[in-house]
């Protein structure tokens, strides 16, 4: 891919560029506002590059087709919004327990139900964490701008391939539909990770065996490594098991392969945190307003900093904990009724005062709304 200077792209188009950069060769989806542009653009671009686009009958089929394509060796992606995300929940769990890489983009809109289809909201944060049934690990990323959407889409593919897990990219309607300048990196400029393939003879291959990273190599169907894949709890060979010792080792590995990667997976950005007494913690579109509010307060001489989450789950608590002694207040700025606020409060365990600046009505969180809360705290 040639380096292009100064393209004006939508966030949804940046998802497409990021996916293609990361090597996505399969997309299955169902139209839904405000994510539809991702499908439209990929339906044009994928076949040009030898990839495959298919419009499925619903969102359940879309994620199912993506998981199937991934098992056949393709890097695959689907994109949706709230109602479609709800329909996809069951098979997210399938992808987690069967360890199938794929990327699921949810361009969030206001809910519940049909809600406000074109209004921004960050109401799916907890659904992304816990929407599929049963205890499970998950990786959820987000972005606050068009260039960052590109960056985090590539990262979503990289993490899904490296850790063999579906990765969810949670975007805001305003980021998906906003146009900004973006320079697409040249090929090779940004690291692209491919899943590890087995090198042993097929008769030695155990698709779910433990390894030094906890992530077993993944053979594609048709590569000569015939194996079984199931959503039932399985042994190292992939065959169903209910033997307690096999359930314990299989399920523990599912979690530990991700927890071993926390330092890489948990991505945050900081601004003025070193001497800050108050930190505003935010993510996605709300983080743009948070940055504005922090700059305003700094100009007024207030010791205020910003922590921007680019990874929502696993929750990057280490980024907060390093300010255990220096920080007194954390204000969570988000566009819902406090989904990450509650997580910060849980992590704080009394170490900081935790406040919130929320926009829970399908409205954009503005700098002034954050300033109102922050100035009361720093007064």
């Amino acid at each position: 891919m040639k380096k292009k200077n100064g393209q004006l792209l939508q966030g949804n188009e940046a998802v497409v560029e990021g996916a293609l950069y990361a090597g996505c060769s399969f997309y299955a989806g169902y139209p839904i506002t405000p994510s539809t542009e991702i499908a439209e653009v990929l339906s044009v671009k994928l076949p040009e590059r030898g990839g495959t686009f298919i419009q499925m009958e619903d969102e359940i089929a879309s994620i199912g087709a993506c998981l199937g394509a991934s098992l056949a060796g393709a890097k695959s992606m689907t994109a949706t919004s709230g109602p479609g995300f709800s329909l996809m929940q069951e098979l997210i769990g399938y992808g987690v327990i069967s360890e199938i890489p794929m990327v699921l983009v949810n361009v969030m809109r206001f809910g519940p139900s049909t809600g406000l289809p074109t209004s921004p909201s960050q109401g799916d944060v907890m659904q992304a964490r816990w929407g599929t049934h049963g205890d499970h690990p998950i990786i959820v990323l987000t972005a606050d701008s068009v260039p960052e959407t590109f960056e985090m889409t590539v990262k979503a593919f990289n993490f899904s391939e490296k850790y063999r897990i579906p990765v969810i990219l949670l975007l805001d309607e305003v980021v998906g539909h906003m146009r900004e300048k973006i320079t697409i990196p040249a090929e090779g400029e940004v690291k692209v990770v491919d899943r590890l393939k087995p090198e042993m003879p097929p008769e030695w291959y155990a698709p779910y065996a433990d390894t030094n990273t906890g992530v077993p190599p993944m053979a594609a169907f048709g590569d000569g490594y015939r194996h079984h894949v199931t959503g039932l709890v399985h042994d190292a060979q992939g065959f169903p098991t209910a033997k307690p010792e096999e359930v314990v080792s299989g399920m523990d590995r599912l979690f530990s392969k991700i927890s071993r990667g926390f330092s890489e997976v948990c991505i945050t950005e900081e601004l003025y945190c070193d001497d800050a007494k108050t930190i505003i913690l935010s993510y996605g579109a709300a983080a743009r307003s948070a940055r504005d509010a922090v700059e305003t307060m700094r100009a007024d001489g207030e010791k205020v900093g910003l922590i921007k989450l680019k990874t929502l789950w696993p929750f990057p608590k280490a980024a907060l904990e390093k300010y255990e002694k220096s920080v007194e207040n954390i204000i969570v700025a988000e566009m819902n009724r406090g989904q990450i606020y509650r997580e910060v409060w849980r992590v704080a365990r009394g170490r900081w005062q935790v406040g919130k600046a929320l926009a829970p009505y399908g409205n954009m969180l503005t700098p002034d709304m954050i300033l109102d809360v922050a100035r009361k705290v720093t007064k």
């Binding site: 060769s25 399969f26 299955a28 044009v44 076949p47 040009e48 030898g50 495959t52 298919i54 499925m56 009958e57 619903d58 359940i60 089929a61 879309s62 994620i63 199912g64 087709a65 993506c66 998981l67 199937g68 394509a69 991934s70 098992l71 056949a72 060796g73 393709a74 695959s76 069951e90 098979l91 399938y94 594609a220 169907f221 048709g222 590569d223 000569g224 015939r226 194996h227 079984h228 894949v229 199931t230 959503g231 039932l232 060979q237 065959f239 169903p240």
Partner: protein
């Protein structure tokens, strides 16, 4: 000539998988699976190029026992997974093994759309008229008046006729046979496998424990004999009314036609897109 079952089983069953299987004594799923394996053997395909996909239910447990690339998905979702596999890697031979509940109830929407796309997947549906794994609830094919644990006074819903449903949704090959007619079933599955496009073979099968027992249908042998008695070849149904056919099992090839197949058409889309 025909390879004996013993040789077929030795060739295709997974010897590193712990048997016994989960099916009840007298169940027909094994007969359908054996017919599929004999048909596969006749295609000359290698085990490495075959992907056997299923959903959830008694029939859907079949893939774990056989030595192909095997995928046991979620309830009703075998066809979306299979579609993804076939679309991403068209040279693979993709076969779906499913049941009446998995395929026609929770997976019904996926079924009609897979038919409509005419994507080159062969679907074998074991239709035993009941939800077996959960203990005998009515399915979308349970005949009216029959008893199930969720219809103890008799089913009042009309049943689907899966092969006809598939044909009208666009499947370019659809056939029906029974576990009594195991050789015919094998030959229909073989035709389905060799057919270019979406093919569906419905196998009427007995569930003596979960269905027959509650409906006074006797032992497994009696249930299989009943299939023989109720079967009527499609060639002999001309002029019969819906009511006359309702309680029969219409066997034979319901649909067989040629039409462009999805992965072939998409290869054309790729070629055009690449040249633009």
């Amino acid at each position: 000539m025909t390879t004996p079952n013993r040789i077929i089983l030795d060739k295709y069953l997974r010897h590193n998988k712990k048997f016994p299987h989960i099916w009840c004594p007298g169940c027909g799923i094994g007969i359908v699976l054996a017919a599929l394996l004999r048909a596969i053997d006749r295609t000359g395909w290698t085990k490495d190029e075959i992907v056997l996909v299923s959903g959830i239910g008694c029939s859907s447990r079949a893939p774990v026992y056989v030595d192909f690339n095997t995928l046991h998905t979620a309830h009703g979702r075998a066809l979306p997974f299979a579609t993804g596999i076939k679309a991403a890697r068209p040279p693979l031979k993709v076969i779906v093994f499913t049941g009446d509940g998995d395929c026609a109830a929770i997976g019904g929407n996926h079924l009609i759309h897979a038919c409509r796309r005419n994507i080159d997947i062969t679907t074998v549906v074991v239709n035993n008229y009941i939800y077996g794994m959960t203990g005998g609830q009515q399915s979308p094919t349970t005949p009216e008046g029959m008893k199930a644990t969720t219809a103890t006074r008799g089913v009042i819903d009309q049943p689907f006729h899966i092969a006809e449903l598939a044909a009208s949704a666009g499947a370019t090959f659809a056939a029906r046979s029974t576990t009594y007619h195991a050789k015919e079933l094998e030959s229909f599955i073989l035709k389905g496998l060799e057919h270019k496009g979406f093919s569906l073979v419905e196998a009427i099968s007995q569930a003596p424990v979960c269905f027959g027992r509650r409906n006074g249908m006797g032992d497994p042998v009696e249930m299989v004999k009943r299939e023989k008695e109720l079967a009527i070849p499609i060639s002999k149904t001309a002029g019969m009314t819906f009511e006359e056919k309702k309680d029969k099992i219409v066997t034979g090839i319901i649909e067989e036609r040629e039409a462009q197949e999805w992965t072939d058409l998409y290869a054309g889309v790729k070629k055009t897109a690449g040249e633009e």
